[in-house]
Symmetry: D2
Subunit: 349 residues, 4 copies
């Protein structure tokens, strides 16, 4: 059986596991204060700030265990008590984190999303409406913007779109935070024109996902201006994201950022997703969202669901319809073309 | 150099790492819904409820990533908004979790501790004082009791002490939660008379520590009565403790609870700690706390600190004195007698 | 100048002020433990449970200072940490309380509103969708329903609508909370068929607004089943709503619930609002929402705004349009027909 | 019967009530945006900054309804998420506000108190210990200092003591917040040498209590540097402290700060407390704390308690002893020497 439910179904990619195994009996200090974490930080900063300089020396990298935790810890750390975070109505923080942001005391201010994305103009309009509201002291202030790259629908913000959102944020004096839980699949996508240095320049905080991109677990938060998230380590500790054996996170990111592994992982998964999407399209299934990354979304006629379910597992997306059901297929680093073959054969029959 | 700073300095014990490696390419569903987690739950329940029956079938096991997270998630889940948690003034939640409990909205009601422990009578007195207070609506209500086994000072609650605290809690109608971050070292201690079934019978919730006891990370929460912590999974998610690749936690606990590994780990570390304590005592150093587990505390004359520091690393405990400094030495599963030899030799010189 | 901005522009109605003045030098215990509060509680219970019996003896009445505080204190007291509150997207808690509900850690789950109201079927659908969601542990659970009577748009739930919502809530096992900040204007409306006993029977918690209905300040919370909001007094204290001189609230509600004053206040304001609405309609202005209570909403041609603004003050509602601007006129207990005459004359010119 | 339980037993002093009555039918905008509030702000700033200048124009005054609310709103507004507030173990926020500070997510870091007071050196030591702690990222950071003037035991910080605490705070870069719930009784005390201008110069935020000092309710927060509590109005709203009919607070403080009423109130109560204290001392009762303000604390032999209780009501303080019970007597603005006579006679018999 082929499992395409998500990109966190297998363990870690071999290079990552090898690094953990090779260093298993080393003894280091905890909580990310070890030299593996330091090396991983350097590699990440190299990738984000290839030109070095002040931007690189100002930036900080922190490791947390998981994505929900990373989102709520960053957001709680950046907002003042009266502020909320702007996000797509389909954003992960708005729908799939069990109210983690609200549990830190802040509202998620949702904007309608198209294919998982929000627009700079919608962000600007919300901010303008707030500023123009005579009763704005009674309204949650927009205090930051959250977007995902790629989005929860596999789509990508273009460099122009990202620049526009960044510009709106800077003009309004509020930070931009990019959730990169699946960033490998964005960076490697043929449709992508946003590089790590672009993110580092245009976002104030973003994270490079490990859990869904080849690591056992772990997310690397990059803060481009440390003044906007001072005292982040105690906050990570307080919110439960500070791994005691912190080096495990450093080691994994060191492996992922060595020899281009991170983008290689992404490229392989994106290629297989594109292969599968072609076969689904050829079969006549409607693509719900045109996704250029490792998550693809198709409407399957209900009468085909069972037969398809005998070859592969996948998630239904939203409420099933009377005749069609939207489903999501996800590829990852561990999947090979051989793994996919039975499904492709089935679809071509 | 010998590192005795803590019990989270090495990776995972070989059996645990082997289990992760062997299953690395398996594909399972996430968030603890996989069969590895199920098996680990069964093994833990077998150990806690060897006689089976209703107590076993009522109990639930959940896996979280780390200890701070586990404490704040359990506590936030069990308290009503007007309640606080009773703990030793030296308890981990009171001093070393960056205010994680308060961040969920609850006060830690501290009691003076002797060697890290609180007494049933002190708990009873605090509850009685609250109930007798005419202005108790203006006072934080004691809503649960938190203790650590072993304590942060390596000491153990005896079975009689635990029974007495449990009795006070049940009479007051408030739950007892036991933090077992280092439980392996308690269970294996020669001084211990509290078994897992005792904990399961006397506590309402407790956790079996993995991070400090041979796993890469992970804590197994045992809830003996599911009605006192309903809907715990969304809470774990909300607080950031729900590992996406949840099976990693199940796999590790499966290994730890196979063939007595968990207690073996504890026994080895406890034995080495006792060896070291003997040498320190023979050297004439004063033992700050008589600890029968893997953490030992000694006062070192300040003039010896530097020389000792050339052989081993360790933590200072509290504020250094003018002539003596209290330090903590911690052993763990990864340490061997051979590792310890240079330090023992040094002390005997 | 006539001020129609809101219903909290004047002080207290004369009977209320007289009660405060007459008792000013009395000395009573604080925090609502005095005999004035007890009497007010009895009067309110009489009005809510005219038939007495078990329902009356089970119910509890608490006094808080203001509405935002009342909403967040009730909601925080009733929800478990993983739950959110269902409300209209236009509900006061969703838009005009500065994120007070989120500040207590809970999400407001909004439903689209028509004229400020939500429907039983929309509530049922949201609950069903949640229960049917395979990833519901990652989603905020609907834990209660919040509605306003009258709504923020002056409209009323009919008895049938309220019954239907109550039925959905009870079938789902979640409580219904009714915000009655302006309840006097609902109870007195000719269009209303929901009585206080209906509210007491169909809601689990509701409050009777004082601040906007003739008192200096104060809201009376009625809890029909004390088991759903145990330990409410410490919560009121913790959230800052427990007035030290608590009798001031009791005294005011005693006055409001003596000789039908509360409904008389509402009837007077509703009648004047209807008078004004007629004149606005006759003038040809479009009614935005057909409101039968003391808030009315009309679209004013932008060229008329200035001239109108010379006779009366009022609030603009939402973002002004290119040609028309929606505005709100609010009447209250203190307004007389004579006060309104200049505006009516102006409109009829 | 004479009631000496507290200083919030009567309504408002006549001048305050007269102001409310005289303006009752005025119609003003809400939430403190009216001209009465503006005037009260000016009067308070005049009293705090008699020399005017930059200090006066920088300062801001806000009105809230009650003390618990004021404390938690100020504290939540000033602390970063990883910080706590230093307070006396006997401080109101530490013991009598139902965990209101913790409910906003912050720990109260308690210091031992002598007669309700903490010392500059103890504050400095706590800060130094934190800064020197190698695991300070796991410890709650001291983020501000809270003291009460007068304290919960009626005692006063001298100007020298206040200067010393202020100096420690400024050197550490953390703000000093003074709870002045009973400030009138401090300002008027013969033992006092701390003026309003001293407070305004030495504290960063403080409040001038109304509820316990002659108003129906209300506290006036003075922020000397608006940059340390930006966006305070939405926070007041969010925490439920923004009175809809905000002018009621302005009006009361306008009356209290006209013709020296505020200090007159304090002086009268202090004088009567001193009278009573003399009589109690003459009777041979032991004074528990030497308080120069309106709260006095004496140990009463248990055999006298009943007879005393027939003449006056008062609060027991702490747990009754076997032979003696500590009690508190509180005087206020409403009390006259004639009221006190029967008790004085009784004591002198």
């Amino acid at each position: 059986m082929l499992h395409l439910d998500s990109d966190y179904m297998a363990g870690a990619c071999p290079e990552v596991l090898a690094a953990l195994t090779a260093t298993n009996l080393d003894r280091t200090t905890g909580y990310g204060t070890d030299s593996y974490c330091d090396r991983a930080r350097e590699l990440i900063l190299d990738a984000c700030f290839p030109e070095g300089g002040r931007a690189r020396s100002d930036a900080r990298v922190y490791f947390l265990v998981g994505g929900t935790q990373t989102n709520s810890t960053v957001i709680a750390g950046m907002l003042r008590p009266h502020e909320g975070v702007i996000a797509a109505a389909t954003g992960h923080i708005a729908v799939h984190e069990s109210g983690a942001v609200e549990a830190t005391g802040h509202k998620v201010l949702t904007l309608p999303a198209v294919d998982g994305k929000i627009t700079a103009s919608a962000v600007a309009a919300l901010i303008a409406e707030f500023k123009g509201d005579p009763s704005r002291d009674h309204t949650v202030a927009p205090g930051m913007v959250y977007i995902s790259q790629p989005t929860e629908y596999g789509t990508l913000y273009s460099l122009d779109e990202l620049k526009a959102i960044s510009k709106v944020c800077r003009e309004a004096g509020i930070p931009l935070f990019v959730d990169g839980a699946r960033l490998a699949y964005a960076l490697a996508s043929k449709a992508n024109d946003v590089t790590l240095p672009d993110l580092a320049r245009l976002a104030d905080v973003f994270y490079i996902g490990g859990t869904k991109c080849g690591a056992l677990m772990g997310e690397a938060v990059v803060i481009t201006d440390p003044s906007i998230l001072r005292h982040f380590t105690p906050l990570i500790k307080q919110r439960g994201g500070l791994l005691a054996k912190g080096r495990l996170l450093g080691l994994q990111f060191e492996a992922l950022f060595t020899d281009g592994l991170y983008e290689r992982i992404g490229a392989s998964a994106d290629r297989l997703a594109a292969l599968l999407a072609s076969a689904l399209r050829e079969r006549g299934y409607r693509e719900v969202v045109a996704s250029p990354t490792n998550q693809i979304f198709f409407e399957i006629p209900n009468e085909d669901l069972d037969r398809l379910g005998k070859v592969a597992t996948f998630e239904t997306w939203g409420v099933p319809g009377d005749h069609y059901t939207a489903v999501r297929f996800v590829t990852d680093w561990a999947l090979t073309e051989a793994d996919l073959a039975p499904l492709l054969d089935f679809l071509r029959k």
